[in-house]
Amino acid sequence: MDVLYALLLQPFVFMAQEPLIFAETVVKGLMAGVLYSLVALGFVLIFKASGVFNFAQGTLALFAALTLVGLMEKMGDGLPKAAIVVIAIVATIGVMILLAMIVERFVLRPLVNQELIILFMATLGLSYVLEGVGDLTWGSDVKVLDIGLPDGVFDIGGVYVEQLDVVAAIVAGSMVTVLAIFFNKTRIGRALRAVADDHQAALSVGISLQQIWVIVWSVAGMVALVAGVMWGSKSGVQFSLSLIALKALPVLILGGFTSIPGAIVGGLIIGLGEKVVEVFWYDVHGGAVENWFAYMLALVFLMFRPQGLFGDKIIERV
């Protein structure tokens, strides 16, 4: 009986008694979810255009953040802060585009028409290479990333919200908007969707897969940069950044591998679920659910709705 009470009733009593704590937990959860979504977005982009789960997406975020911090350190204090930040960001975007070209030329192109699992293995290898290159170039110590994002706290009617989280939410929101416009209104975006629908037909109408891959990996690299900056500002740029890729996996299973809105909603649900279950169901599990809650939720989804909330119906490609 006690267990049932703790499971079914007590949490809601608690919520009703402490609306402020509840509100704060929800906000915290949603904000954490936004960051998961940012990482998941990069996965969706590459999966949509090539059907490959890019294991290196997390490392891509780490690599982008490392490059950014490294470049800012290199430039020293000679210039005003804002100028350094802008130059470093532009240069990092350049590096990510260059990286996309290298990946296309030396990883994807030689593996054209191979099984998807082989491409997946290649991205696994790529993630180790990137990690190594990042370490060698910029060193492996934990770095502080400070690009001047606000780090104070908003007090909204007694609920505390970190300003950095709000910035992350705004950035994620505008990024989704920009990506939606890019995908739906531009010639390249149309081609990307065409490639996602039918590789061969896209080839037959003269869309160059190589060009599309470079573009997709560049965009994924920029999304990784944003994710890396947000996570890096929060908890420092370090190796564990690449492990957020593992958190993005359940987000994708929830939202659907092919859906941009799915990545956002999936991230929000997981972030929210984690925090609320952690705080309000504490008596049932005794804490530390944040590490496995997302995976359990993903498992349930895999059993009952394998294509995720917004994913395309799963159709075997021939």
Partner: protein, 276 residues
Amino acid sequence: MSAAEVETATDALLKVNNIEVIYDHVILVLRGVSLEVPQGGIVAILGGNGAGKTTTLKAISNLLGTERGEVTKGTIEFDGIGVEASSPNELVKRGCIQVMEGRHCFEHLTVEENLLTGAFTRGGDRAGIQADLEMVYTYFPRLRERRTSLAGYTSGGEQQMTAIGRALMSRPKMILLDEPSMGLAPQLVEQIFEIVKKINEQEGVTILLAEQNTNVALRYAKYGYILESGRVVMEGAAESLRNNEDVKEFYLGLGGEGRRSFRDIKHYRRRKRWLG
């Protein structure tokens, strides 16, 4: 007698010379196919399932690579230059585009977006593309009504129109049309062939089509090749093929001379009988 001589005196736009195609390094699909398509002509490749029609077209448009197939012998020349060195998208730029068997529309794109993807190789030529969109809608008024529907939700006939219109948007010199009649009602097949003929006459687009529907194909094409087991077993002007006894019996279903001994029948016809 080659197709070029029958048609006009102009040079052939496409010359396929004795090509052999192997899939997966072991499966021999085409064993020495040669054909020619004159500038501005309509040429049909006929034959049953697995005869090699689609493979021939894909060899020309260089799409074999995506299916682990390769041309191991022979040459293909489009517009005077070999196709081996060109990627599929370069070939589209050069004016050779394929409409694949089974339409292959982009299901999650609207009809109009599908048409616009056909203009991908033309870059930012907005005015020209807009004008061509109008042209496609004039040929296929049905598509104008359906322009905002997702292609995946349109009927088979509309999808075929979308696929042909999409190819037309690339401003091609030649369209490779693979099995346009597949899965369509006879009336609709007739309508689509009428439009293809109109496009051929008015836009000067050369057509090479692969068809199982011999009857319709030979009424619209001017020259035909009959493929069987990866070889050209017969070729000739459409008129003469239509009147050929063997073609009548095995492809047009117009036998009429009673049953004949199995021994009298040549190899390609025996095979047809087993399959038919």
